[in-house]
């Protein structure tokens, strides 16, 4: 999986940087025909269509980016193998949500693949909507700060982007914003209570 990047390590570094670098690396992976065809063949062979394959590939790249950013990818395998594993897992989740039965041999293969596969992002649409509402209540500045913080932007970059007085103020502001978000969620325990301890 080379192309514009000399090695998997270069791609991983780009994905960890956030912003334009992440988008460039994601676009590079998205345009990788070898791995896309591998994923597409798997999806088509296991009861999906061409559009399903594209959706699976997009979701897999999103999970890959998150796991790399959070250091969950231990680099025991190549990026291609890891991404293919995620894609297989993604398709099994999508099949479940679509009510398509998973064949016995397919789930067995998945169990083997999944050993090193990642925590995933599949949450219900209902929870997504509620979390989105909570973020809206937080305000634009806090939301942007938390997103940038999670994406490993430096304090200098964040302070410059948000026109904050000093980089040192970023960490304090981040703490405050997370506290506030936790408060918003706590204030609506009727809604979120069911999702706690999941």
């Amino acid at each position: 999986m080379k192309g514009h990047y000399k090695s998997d390590k270069d791609i991983i570094n780009a994905l960890k940087k956030g912003g334009k670098e992440t988008n460039k690396a994601l676009a590079h992976l998205f345009e990788n025909k070898i791995i896309f065809n591998r994923v597409q063949n798997y999806v088509l062979y296991n009861g999906g269509g061409v559009q399903d394959a594209t959706d699976v590939y997009i979701e897999s790249l999103i999970i890959l980016e998150k796991n790399i950013r959070k250091n969950k990818f231990k680099q025991d395998s190549t990026l291609m193998t890891y991404l293919t594993g995620i894609a297989k897992y993604c398709w099994s989740q999508m099949k479940k949500s679509k009510g398509i039965p998973i064949a016995g041999n397919e789930s067995m293969a998945l169990e083997l693949e999944i050993i090193d596969t990642p925590e995933h992002l599949f949450i219900t649409n209902e929870l997504k909507a509620k979390l989105n509402q909570a973020l809206e209540l937080l305000g634009e500045k806090c939301k942007t700060l938390l997103k940038m913080w999670s994406q490993n932007y430096s304090s200098e970059e964040i302070s410059k982007h948000l026109e904050m007085p000093t980089p040192g103020a970023v960490r304090k502001q981040k703490f405050y914003c997370k506290e506030r978000l936790a408060e918003i969620i706590k204030s609506d325990l009727k809604v979120f209570g069911v999702y706690l301890n999941e």
Binding site: A27, F30, I58, L131, K147, A182, I185, L196
Partner: protein, 217 residues
């Protein structure tokens, strides 16, 4: 309290080392208030991650749409180029067939290209040249009259006469006429005939694929 909360935030964001993780996890396990805070932060983290995922999803979907558009555009261009090329080939083929493949056109083509003017050494040669000229002038009655005046047999001139007779029948009565068929078969069945090859070629052109389609006599 804020210190440990800050560390729990880092734990949830995946920004702690292995040993730090264990330390913070132990603190959480000992304190109910921190356990609740930790759970709330997990949900907060999901909210932030979903927001990031949503941005990546939009970016990748727009990439996918662009790729699909380009593919469709490329396919459409190739499709229309194919159609245009087919139409051009069809028009050229039909127009070529129409221009040169009628019975009369073929007769003219074979008369002008295969029979040469004779050297006028004898009266028959002169008559034959007059017959050829009459053909060029479109005076076919005169052609027949002049050809009837040639009485030599077994000579090359007689072979010229047979060939001119065949192509004149083609010109005046068409390829389906018995007169043409009889006169030309006499030449095609004789491998020694000087116009044998020309006659075979003429018959092949008369029976060509395009003539079956767009024959004009």
């Amino acid at each position: 309290m804020n210190d440990i909360k800050d560390k729990i935030q880092d734990l949830v964001s995946g920004k702690l080392s292995g040993s730090e993780e264990m330390e913070v996890q132990a603190s959480i396990n000992e304190n109910v208030e921190l356990q609740e805070y930790y759970q709330l932060l997990l949900l907060s983290e999901k909210a932030i991650e979903e927001e990031i995922a949503s941005e990546h999803r939009s970016f990748l979907k727009s990439k996918s749409e662009t790729t699909q558009k380009n593919q469709t555009k490329g396919n459409t261009i190739i499709y229309w180029i194919g159609i245009a090329a087919s139409v051009i080939i069809l028009v050229l083929s039909i127009s070529t067939a129409n221009l040169s493949f009628t019975d009369g056109d073929l007769a003219d083509q074979y008369t002008y290209n295969t029979i040469s003017i004779r050297s006028a050494d004898s009266e028959e040669d002169i008559i034959f040249n007059q017959a050829q000229k009459a053909y060029r002038d479109g005076d076919y009655e005169k052609v027949w009259a002049k050809l009837n005046d040639i009485v030599l047999s077994g000579s090359l001139l007689e072979k010229d006469k047979e060939w001119l007779t065949a192509v004149t029948y083609l010109k005046t009565e068409g390829s389906e006429s018995d007169s043409f068929k009889n006169s030309v078969s006499k030449i095609t069945s004789d491998p020694q005939h000087p116009y044998h090859e020309d006659a075979l070629k003429l018959m092949s052109e008369l029976q060509s694929f395009w003539r079956l389609f767009v024959v004009k006599k």
